[in-house]
């Protein structure tokens, strides 16, 4: 967006001087301020990322050698299932909400979110859900061990840990829907005068579309797990074949949620990258309107491809072809986005600070993840590779690297605005290179393991997979260890460092750069006018 606006920052200073909010612990418990809530989300995400990461490290420790070494097979199933659930519902999704809370009001020139109290409630519900989910490890019989997908009928047979996971999903789902309603209402109703829809920053657009997706599909998941709960405790047989139910129906419903969910975890990342690349290319984003239409197309197509996750359950060839071609069609709007980011960089005055490194890294790893996705879309190929490590490699490229790298790019980009200090560029670059190298060491060989026939979700494997598994484990541990650098950078930056200018990146555009650094407690008490 062009900086054609006349922001009024005088009110910002004036109000902040007498900001009347509680201090100490009560500030954080009762806060309705979008920036405070954004920070709380980040703290929650960091804690859960640590837990999910430790589960991953344990999984890789067990898989370092064939045979059983560290954990029992049943506990291994809990580890893989809970690693997925935690990383999806307690890390990636809330991390994007953290960015939304911090940035959306500032980017559209609003004082705060439309429903500040509901915003607070969304966050604390999420925490309750997270605690319930982690608590399920201590339930008799252990935590959910039926995969993050909780497929019936396996999930109908487990102990109370499964019920806790179901309730955790309900609570987190309510939190997510409330958050989405808040975000949509904020974007639709609280934009600064003159900021038309097609003048909104791409990150705001990406969140608007993501929030609509969440409203549509989180209730679908809630419905699926509610039926599961009824099957488990109230004598229904929705998914129990012995009672006339249909386990495959669970898969249909789950993936009707599950595939849009995949885009919920990447669309805001597209928005973040679309903010970072123009700033460090010192050029406006190439093809703004086509980016918006591509986001919308991806969101719409996400509802038409769910059964590509279940080609092996048996379905008519016509249905296989339909889902295969629809899946391939998604490559078109995705290609538009990759093309536009590249075209934005083309002949730009590029510089390679940490945010830009992560943004370019994002394009690279996302393309690998995208292409392997295209390969998996081909029904006969997928039938061979279903449930192998190829799939694990594919979705970790999209989710770990692409989603995470987009967030890292944005974190380094906005950290000066949030803290008022510049981060340590050297450490940031070390963080990027170590993450990039170890991620690829850890996850690229998974494709070869999958092609060679190694199944996923197993604690033991045949001897011929040993060498590559060792490489994968070393890469994964290295990647995990590299994230300690991020913690150091963020803590250092929050505690002090070189003073950040109001607009530390010369190519940055947007309303958030017109307010002081650090961003005052209340910004835009008087809405800026966007021309």
């Amino acid at each position: 967006m062009e900086a054609a606006h006349t922001p009024d920052t005088t009110h910002v200073h004036g109000h902040d001087a007498h900001a009347h909010h509680p201090t100490g612990i009560m500030r954080w418990l009762t806060t309705t301020n979008h920036k405070d809530i954004g920070t709380l989300y980040f703290i929650f995400v960091a804690c859960m990322f640590l837990v999910g990461g430790l589960l991953a490290m344990t999984i890789r420790a067990e898989l370092f050698s064939p045979g059983m070494q560290i954990v029992e097979p049943a506990f291994f199933n809990e580890l893989t299932s809970m690693h997925g659930l935690i990383m999806i519902f307690s890390v990636i999704m809330p991390a994007f909400v953290a960015f939304a809370n911090w940035q959306i009001p500032m980017m559209i020139g609003a004082t705060d979110m439309a429903f500040p109290r509901m915003n607070n409630m969304s966050f604390w519900l999420l925490v309750s859900g997270g605690i319930l989910m982690l608590g399920s490890f201590f339930a008799p019989g252990g935590a959910n061990a039926a995969g993050w997908t909780m497929y019936a009928p396996l999930s109908e047979q487990m102990g109370p840990g499964m019920d806790m996971a179901i309730f955790a999903i309900h609570i987190m789902g309510v939190s997510s829907i409330m958050g989405s309603i808040n975000i949509i209402t904020t974007i639709l109703n609280l934009r600064a005068p003159g900021m038309t829809m097609m003048k909104m920053p791409l990150f705001v657009w990406s969140w608007l579309i993501t929030a609509y997706l969440l409203i549509a599909v989180i209730p679908v998941l809630a419905g699926a797990v509610t039926m599961l709960l009824f099957d488990r405790h109230f004598g229904t047989h929705f998914f129990n074949a012995a009672g006339g139910g249909d386990p495959v129906m669970y898969q249909h419903i789950f993936w009707f949620f599950g595939h849009p969910e995949v885009y919920i975890m990447i669309l805001p990342g597209f928005g973040l990258i679309s903010e970072v690349i123009p700033a460090f290319s010192r050029k406006p984003l190439f093809g703004y309107s086509s980016m918006v239409y591509a986001l919308a197309s991806i969101a719409i197509l996400s509802f038409l491809v769910w059964a590509h996750h279940m080609f092996t359950v048996g379905m008519p060839a016509a249905a296989q072809l339909f889902f295969m071609y629809c899946t391939m069609l998604i490559a078109v709007p995705t290609g538009v986005k990759i093309f536009n980011w590249t075209a934005t960089m083309w002949k730009g005055s590029l510089s390679f600070e940490t945010p830009m490194l992560f943004a370019i890294g994002f394009i690279w790893v996302f393309m690998i993840g995208g292409f392997t996705g295209l390969i998996l879309a081909v029904a006969p190929v997928d039938i061979q590779m279903q449930d192998t490590y190829y799939v694990v490699g594919h979705f970790h490229y999209v989710m770990v690297a692409a989603s995470l790298f987009s967030m890292y790019a944005a974190l380094y980009y906005w950290l000066p605005k949030w803290t008022g200090h510049m981060y340590d560029e050297t450490l940031g670059k070390w963080h990027f290179w170590l993450s990039m190298i170890f991620f690829n060491i850890g996850f690229f060989p998974m494709h070869f393991l999958g092609l060679a026939g190694m199944p996923r979700r197993i604690p033991d494997y045949a001897l011929q997979f040993t060498d590559l598994n060792r490489v994968v484990s070393i890469g994964a541990w290295g990647f995990g260890a590299a994230q300690i650098l991020l913690l150091i950078v963020v803590v250092k930056c929050a505690r002090g460092g070189a003073k950040a200018a109001d607009k530390p990146w010369e190519g940055a555009q947007g309303l958030e750069w017109t307010i002081p650094s650090p961003a005052p407690y209340h910004s835009f008490e008087t809405p800026p006018v966007v021309k």
């Binding site: 309603i181 639709l188 129906m249 249905a319």
Partner: protein, 53 residues
């Protein structure tokens, strides 16, 4: 609710938007539960029996 007329109008608009979105979410939830009784696969099977959904 002691805001100006404009502020109150904006609040009312926000609440209206939220209520509509909440009903959309509720609709999807109920549609999934109802899917057991109004299963699209059953409907497809009825009209296109040769497809064997």
């Amino acid at each position: 609710m002691n805001g100006s007329k404009d502020e109150n109008r904006l609040r009312a608009r926000n609440v209206r938007t939220a209520i509509i979105l909440a009903f959309v979410a509720l609709g999807f939830f109920l549609a999934v539960i109802a899917n057991h009784w109004v299963n699209p696969a059953v409907i497809v099977d009825h009209w296109f029996p040769k497809w064997h959904w």
